[in-house]
Symmetry: C2
Subunit: 269 residues, 2 copies
């Protein structure tokens, strides 16, 4: 932090912070809710592009304004953020490592540990083994899941995924039936939890339909296309399954991110 | 109970019981799970039609077998049930009243208190004000919900519903926009919980889409048609909403039903 604005009391120059694409004003009904992290003031808004205080941008080139992106605009060397969009962290944390916690990594990890909440010894399917999916798998590993089934169309991702606890793999291309049926056969009826990290609506449907009747929970993380429709037979719900979505892994950035950085510092991640 | 079969230890002649359309064997993985009540042995099976012990029916007319229905066949004066399909209850309970707990009433009441779990002071929308919906509303009342919004196409049901705690009403026919939009306007963005008790897939979609971002939970109770498709934009999930279905209100019949009868006896219902 180079300088802080008037009235800012929880930060001072020299603090180490992570700017986060969603914010936490601490005053709206979402911030005051125990369940939500979708701050009314600072949640993701690609239309805004300016600072809340004066409706202006802080960047320009050749006299023309360059607008803010997701409240952080961190592709510049210096940036200006709303105080609610930065989380103060341990100054000993290596910024070039922990910066990934500002977006996808917390999104995937939190989707598993905060939302899917797999029990020790349970089974978890992870759809998509990109960075977000690997973080979701790590969440399952930290939670003590016994079976972590990685699903991806690209088998080159499987070896790397083993480092994050994935211990079984399914490539939908290897089967001539829907992947949810393959997983149901592997797991005597379905997995206990699934986490979808692809953004493909077909993967979302498979992730929901591959969880077990009676207790299965599916969590959607990927960002779908504007015109996508999630479609399933309602009996899949009546058989006591749960479908949830999540946003930034349900983490409240200012409140929770410092603790995730500490987990990294303690080598728990 | 008139007589009990060999090896039955938890019942004896003279006990008062309620036969329940789903059972509880107490030994399968569903019965052993804390979350599920979908007993692998005795869950609803309209194809079975016979007793598990010998694969035969216990009824006949003019020498031809009459098959069992849902494990209970309670439209006869006497019936024969698997021990897992009857719940022993307080012998002082009036059977002509508490018999309704064997099906829809527990389904609706349990959907609210066991699955939707509204907090004190919260808002709940109930879709469908038939017997199941009124029981769901009663669950919201007992949970301390402040706003209980009843949705039904038949306004003749509204007066009766007030006795079960419903204190606001929406008739979708009175509006020229989707009922989920009407409810969002009434509640500054959506209700905290909704319970769908109609079986109409359109009501299921509305019930899901009328809950609030960040913490809203919708519970499906109604039995849909075979060809129905539940369809919504996946962003509705990513905004941190939850959709669950339920079966018999998540009650385990032998374990939980006696307690619901006690609630009735204590005038809590």
């Amino acid at each position: 932090v180079e300088s802080v604005g008037e009235g800012v009391t929880d930060l001072q120059p020299g603090d180490h912070v992570l700017p986060v694409f969603t914010g936490e004003c601490k005053e709206c009904r979402h911030c005051k809710s125990e369940e939500s992290n979708m701050c009314d003031l600072l949640r993701i808004n690609t239309d805004r592009g300016t600072m809340l205080s004066d409706g202006k941008s802080r960047f320009s080139k050749d006299g023309k304004p360059i607008y803010h992106f997701l409240g952080t605009s961190t592709f510049s060397e210096y940036t200006v953020c709303h105080v609610g969009s930065v989380a103060k962290i341990n100054p000993a944390a290596p910024l070039e490592k922990v910066c990934v916690l500002s977006c996808g990594i917390c999104t995937g990890f939190g989707a598993t540990v905060n939302v899917a909440k797999p029990k020790k010894g349970s089974s978890v399917a992870i759809f998509g083994l990109g960075a977000v999916g690997l973080a979701a798998a790590e969440g399952a590993r930290v939670s003590g899941a016994a079976r972590i089934i990685g699903v991806d169309l690209n088998p080159n991702r499987f070896e790397e995924a083993k480092k994050f606890g994935v211990n079984e793999f399914v490539n939908p291309k290897d089967h001539n039936k829907p992947v949810q049926e393959v997983i149901a056969e592997m797991t005597d009826g379905g997995v206990d939890r699934s986490v979808e990290c692809t953004g493909s609506v077909q993967a979302m449907i498979s992730a929901f339909e591959c969880v077990h009747d009676g207790w299965g929970v599916a969590v959607l993380v990927g960002v779908p296309s504007k015109d996508d429709a999630f479609k399933t037979h309602p009996v899949n719900f009546l058989n006591e399954r749960t479908l949830k979505g999540t946003f930034y892994g349900n983490y409240k950035p200012k409140s929770d991110l410092p603790g995730v950085v500490e987990m990294y510092m303690n080598k728990e991640l």
